[in-house]
Amino acid sequence: MKQQVLVLYLATSALDAPVVGWSRYDGTGATNPTAGDGDEPPYETGVDALRDGWRLFQAAQLIPPYPGHEYDTSFLKHEFFFEKLS
């Protein structure tokens, strides 16, 4: 059994929010995903990935902004890790 990982970045903290970014890592070696290899997301929402058999195993925490840095932007906030075993 080898792990395939799908990371979806969503527009809000809700799992059924639209996908704004995505990454894939393939432990089977069958594919070799990399940066900038596609313009269309694999799913429209996080729930769409569940419906296709991906298992959610990590979701980004909701962390309040640090005082004094409320308007700073940095990494994408709403990151969800999924896996499939094959």
Binding site: V7, A35, D37, D39, S74, L76
Partner: protein, 268 residues
Amino acid sequence: METTLLSSVRVAGFVAAGYLRLDAVVPDELNERAIDVLEAGIPRAPYGTPVRTAFPGGSFARRLIEVPAVAGALRSLVGPDPLVDHHAVHIREPRNGHAQPLHADAIIDTRADAFDVQLMYYPHEVSADMGGTLVVPGSHLRRVNESDTGRYQNLRGQTRLTCPAGTVMLLHHGIWHGGRRNDSDVRRYMFKIRFNPTVPQVRLWDTSDLADPAVLDELGRRFPWYEQATGRLEIHNRALMWRAMTADASFDVDYWATRVTNRPGRAA
């Protein structure tokens, strides 16, 4: 030297997207020489060398940045007499198996009232499979350190550069970008120069259209990869950058910055 300054609308587009592109502005005569020149290498100068010293008159690099459209755009963004931070030739080999991780150059750089500009020059046509630079519009104000963004492979609305020969891109120092995997049989060349300003970056462009409503339209643009809430902060932060670049402390986009600083009767 003839220059073509940018309009306010174009500079606002740069402030929103973090880059602008000048398609096919470099003449064929220079493009045709470029590969040999880049292969031979362009002599390095110490960090922070004035342009006239780093690139002597008549040299290839000097001629490149004196192309009127390039000179005007550079002057509009970094002003006269910038320093050459460094320059480098980037080559994506044919059928190379990997892309660069998405990154911002140098180290985390939080300047709100100054910025460096990176020039990227593509001497030949870049087709979709040649690994043209991946650029994420509107990422330049995010505070990240270099390749800490490497986890992100694709973001909605990303630009996978394809361009005609002689195209120049000018990028804010903070833009997220990366050289893509070259799946073609052709070597892909890009020449990069980073410029540091030596003057305050205030109203350096042709400001005759500063009141054009299209300026606000540009500064209010959202990009498809923005999260719903954080996207609002991007526009707020752009408004602050525009305030710095126009020396107009009251400027705002859709009241974002004004509302949250309104404290009647309170001292700072």
